[in-house]
Symmetry: C2
Subunit: 499 residues, 2 copies
C-alpha cells in the first residue's frame, strides 16, 4: 500500500495491533452473549477490562503519538507528505480518533465504567421489580457524567452534539430537531389514519426450533453468506459482530410461537453482516475498514429487515418455504394474508416489538428526553411522567408499568445517551436508498420474488460497503441517493404501503 518504512506504514503497524486487540475483545463479547458459562461472567469482565486497558494504553502512548504526528500533524491536521486521497482521509480519521481518546482522561473513563457497571444490575433489578426509584439515583450520576463527557469532548452549539458525534459524526441537535419534528407530525397523522383500517390478526401456531433453524440458514444463504466466513448462533438479544471481514458472527432468538421474530432478526443482522463482510479488507487495521456511522450501519439492517423483508415481493418468495417448513401451522395461509400479518401496525409499549410505522416515534420520544436531560431542563425523577405523557401523545397508549415504559431499554444504564437517534436515521436512510434502488432496478420486486438478492447485495457493496470510511455519512448519502438525508422518502414509503 505504501513504502514499508514511510510514516503511514509505521502508524499502520501500530493501529493494526490495536485492531487485533479490538477483534479479540469482540470475540470475548460475542462469547459472553452466546456460550460463556454463567458463573464466569465476573472473570469475563476482568478479561475485557484488561483488553480495554491495553487498547487505551497503546492509543495514548508517546510512541503512538509520535507515529501519528509523523503522518499528520496532531495540532494542525496537516498531513505530513504526499499521500493518495484514501490515505489522506485515513490520516484525518486517525487524528480524530486520537483526539477523542485523549480528551477523556483515564480517571474519567474509569469512573464512567464503574458507574455504569453499578448501574446495570440496579437497572435490571428496577426493571424486574418495576421500581424506577431503584434506578433513578444511578441514572442521575450517568446524566451528570454524560454532561461532563460532552464538556470534555467539546461542542459548538449543544452539549448533546458531543454525544451524538460518537455515533453520528455528521449530525447535530440543530439538524436533527426539525427532521424529527417533521417526522413526528407525519407519523402521528399516518398512524391515526391506519387506526381507522381493520387490524389483521397476528400469526399464531407452533413453529418448531429445528424448522426455524433451517429457515435462518436458508435466508442467510440467500443473502449471500457463506459458512466459510460467517456464522449464526443464538443469544437472548440478536446482534451482529464483525470480528474481521472474514469472521462475521450474527445471532438470533427463536420463539416457537412465531417464526417471524427470528426471520426478521436474521434479515436485520444479515444486513449488518453484509456491510461488515464487505468492508475494504485491504485497509484492515486503518480507520478506512470501519463502518461510517451507527446510522449507516442501521440503514443496511433496516433495508433488509423491513423494506425488502416486509415487501409483498419477499412474502411471495418466502411463502412456499414457510409452508413447507411449517405445514401444520401455515397450510391455509395465503401469501396476501402473510403480507398483511408481517405488516401489522399496532402501537406497542415496547420499542423492539414495534412495527415500521410506530418504531421511529419511540426513538423521537427518547431523543427528546435525552436532549432535555443533557440540557438540564428535565430531571431524572420526572422521566416516568414525561415518558408516559409522550407515549400517550405520540402513540395513543400509556405503558402499564415503568418496566414497559422508561425502564425497558438498557442503553441509559450503559451510559449510551446519544445512541438512539441512529436507529431512526437508519430507517430514514433505508427508505431513501430504496427510492434509488427502485430507479436503478425497476424489476427489483420480480428479482426479490424469485429469491434473487445478489443485485441488491452487489449494489450495496459497490455503493457503500467497499468504501469503508472513505466518505462521511453526508457524502455517501448525497453520492448514492443524489440528495441529503430527509424524511420525505420514508414518509412516502410508509404512506404508499400502509394507506
Amino acid at each position: 500500500m505504501a513504502r514499508s518504512q514511510d510514516p503511514f506504514s509505521k502508524l499502520h503497524k501500530r493501529s493494526l495491533r490495536i485492531a487485533k486487540l479490538q477483534s479479540i475483545r469482540a470475540l470475548l463479547e460475542w462469547d459472553l452473549e452466546t456460550y460463556l458459562p454463567k458463573a464466569a461472567g465476573g472473570f469475563r469482565s476482568d478479561q475485557l477490562e484488561l483488553l480495554a486497558e491495553e487498547i487505551h494504553k497503546e492509543l495514548t502512548s508517546n510512541s503512538y503519538k509520535k507515529a501519528l504526528n509523523n503522518f499528520i500533524d496532531i495540532e494542525t491536521g496537516k498531513i505530513q507528505g504526499d499521500y493518495p486521497p484514501h490515505l489522506q482521509k485515513a490520516a484525518k480519521e486517525y487524528r480524530k480518533n486520537y483526539l477523542q481518546e485523549m480528551k477523556l482522561p483515564t480517571s474519567f473513563v474509569k469512573k464512567f465504567t464503574k458507574t455504569t457497571s453499578t448501574a446495570l444490575p440496579a437497572w435490571d433489578q428496577a426493571k424486574k421489580t418495576n421500581n424506577f426509584s431503584l434506578f433513578a439515583p444511578h441514572l442521575e450520576k450517568i446524566v451528570l457524567l454524560c454532561k461532563k463527557k460532552a464538556d470534555l469532548l467539546g461542542y459548538k452549539e449543544h452539549p448533546y452534539d458531543a454525544l451524538l458525534d460518537l455515533y453520528e459524526p455528521d449530525l447535530t441537535v440543530k439538524t436533527l430537531t426539525p427532521l424529527f419534528n417533521e417526522l413526528k407530525t407525519a407519523l402521528t397523522s399516518l398512524l391515526a389514519q391506519i387506526k381507522q383500517k381493520p387490524l389483521p390478526s397476528p400469526l399464531t401456531g407452533h413453529f418448531p426450533k429445528e424448522a426455524q433453524d433451517k429457515l435462518s440458514s436458508y435466508i442467510l444463504e440467500k443473502m449471500g453468506f457463506s459458512k466459510e466466513t460467517s456464522r449464526l448462533d443464538l443469544s437472548s438479544h440478536p446482534f451482529c459482530t464483525g470480528i474481521h471481514p472474514l469472521d462475521i458472527r450474527m445471532t438470533t432468538r427463536i420463539d416457537p410461537s412465531c417464526p417471524l421474530s427470528s426471520l426478521y432478526s436474521v434479515l436485520h443482522e444479515g444486513g449488518h453482516g453484509l456491510y461488515h463482510q464487505n468492508l475494504p479488507i485491504e485497509h484492515y487495521g486503518t480507520p478506512l475498514c470501519d463502518a461510517i456511522s451507527y446510522g449507516i450501519d442501521e440503514s443496511q439492517s433496516r433495508l433488509w429487515e423491513t423494506i425488502i423483508g416486509k415487501s409483498r415481493a419477499f412474502c411471495h418468495f418466502i411463502h412456499p418455504t414457510l409452508q413447507q417448513l411449517f405445514p401444520e401451522a401455515l397450510s391455509h395461509l395465503s401469501t396476501e394474508e402473510l403480507y398483511k400479518k408481517v405488516n401489522r401496525v399496532i402501537p406497542s409499549e415496547i420499542r423492539v416489538e414495534s412495527d415500521e410505522v410506530t418504531y421511529s416515534l419511540h426513538i423521537i420520544l427518547r431523543f427528546e428526553i435525552e436532549k432535555e436531560l443533557i440540557e438540564g431542563t428535565l430531571s431524572v425523577k420526572d422521566i416516568p411522567e414525561v415518558w408516559n405523557e409522550k407515549m400517550q401523545t405520540y402513540l395513543g397508549i400509556t405503558p402499564s408499568y415503568a418496566s414497559k415504559g422508561c425502564l425497558q431499554d438498557v442503553h441509559w444504564a450503559m451510559g449510551g445517551i446519544g445512541y438512539f437517534p441512529s436507529y431512526t436515521l437508519g430507517n430514514l436512510l433505508a427508505a431513501q436508498l430504496f427510492s434509488t434502488i427502485k430507479k436503478a432496478f425497476p424489476d427489483w420486486d420480480k428479482k426479490v420474488q424469485q429469491g434473487e438478492f445478489s443485485f441488491l447485495s452487489t449494489w450495496l457493496k459497490e455503493k457503500i460497503h467497499c468504501h469503508g470510511k472513505l466518505y462521511t455519512a453526508s457524502e455517501v448519502i448525497q453520492q448514492v441517493t443524489g440528495k441529503p438525508l430527509g424524511v420525505k422518502d420514508y414518509i412516502t414509503y410508509l404512506t404508499e404501503k400502509h394507506l
Copy 2:
C-alpha cells in the same frame, strides 16, 4: 493472601495479568477448534501470535524480573522474606518458569514456531498422500531444533530429559527406561494370552446424534458438572480447556455408528475438566493454580474413562440409559455383553483407537523412537522401517500405510517431542490411584453401579485437585498412594480384568 504491597503481591499482580492473557488465548484456541469460520483461520493465527508476543514480552520484561527478584533471588533461589509454605512453593515455581522462559531466546522461539507452522501442512499432506518423504525434511529440522532446545534448557544426563521436563518435571530417561521396559514385557505377555481368548464382536447399529447429545449431558451431570461453570461442544478432536476454574470447556465427537466413542471422550475430558474446575481458585494467577504435570492431568482423565468407565459396575449403571436412548440398536444387548464390547482388546494400527491393554505399547514405541532421534542414534529417514518393526514386535501387526503408522500423530509436526510419555504415566498413575480408591471405598462398585460418583470426585478433589501445584508429581503420588510411581498396579489391574 498477603499484604497488598509486599513482594509477593506485587509479583502476583503481574502474573495475574499474564494468566488473564493466557486465558484469553485459551478461549481463542477453543473457538478455533469449535466455531471459527474456516476462512478466518489465518487471522486467528495473527491474533494468537499477538497474545503470545504480549505474554512473552511481559514475562521477559525488566520490571517483571525485578518484581520476581524481590520475591525470590533469581540467581540463588533464596526466598526474600518470611512466607508460608504455599508461597514458598509458588516462589520456586515462579522462578522455574522464569528461568525456562529466559533460556529460550526470542529468535529461537520464532524459528521454532516458523518451522512447525511450515511442518504442519506438510505433515497433513504427507498423511493424506501416504508419503513420508514429504514430511521427513521438516521432521529433520524439528529434531535438530529439539536438540538445540534441550541444549538451551540444559540437562544433567540425557538431552531428552530437558524435553521431558516440559511435561513431566519429575521424570528422566533413567527412571523412565526401566519402567517402560518392565511394562513392555508385561503387556506383550498379557496381550499374547488375551489373543488366545475369543474376541467379542464390536458394537454396531445406528445411534442418532440427538440421543448421543443427551447421553453426554447425562454423563457430565452425573460426574458433577454444572452448566453454570462448564460446557460441552463438538470438535474434530475431543479436548478440554480450563479457561478458568469457573469456565471449563470440554468437547466431544459424535459417531452415529457407535455411541462409545463419544461416551468415553466425555468421561475422558470430564476427568480433565474436574481437575481444572477444582484447582485452588484463591491462588488464580499464581503457579499454584496450575495442574502439576501432563501425566497427573492424564491420570484423571484415564481414571474416569477406562478404570471407572469400563468397569462392570459402570456398565451396569449405564446399560439402562443406553437402552432407553437407543432402543432400536440395543434392546437385545445384555449388561455383560456391553461390558465385553467396551473392553474388547484388539491391537490397532491407530493409537487413539486402542484399548487399554495395547495403548501403552503405542506410547513406549514412540518414546523409544524419540529418545533415539534426540540421541542421534536414529535418522529420520529410518523411522518408517523402525516403526513397523516395533509395531510387529510389540503388537503383532504391521501398519498398512505410513499414514496409519508413523504419520498418524500430529505431535512431532507440532514440535512436541517429549510429550508422549505423559500418556502412559497417566495410565500407570490411574491404576495406582484406583488401588488406593478400592481400599478407601470397598463399596466403590456399588456406588458406581448406582450412578453415585461424588465419593470419587470429592476424594480426587481433596487428595489432588485442590492442592494445585503445591506438591510435585512424586510428592502427590507418594502422599496419596503411599508409594512411588510404578507399573505393578497397572499390570495387576489389566491382568485381573482381562485374563
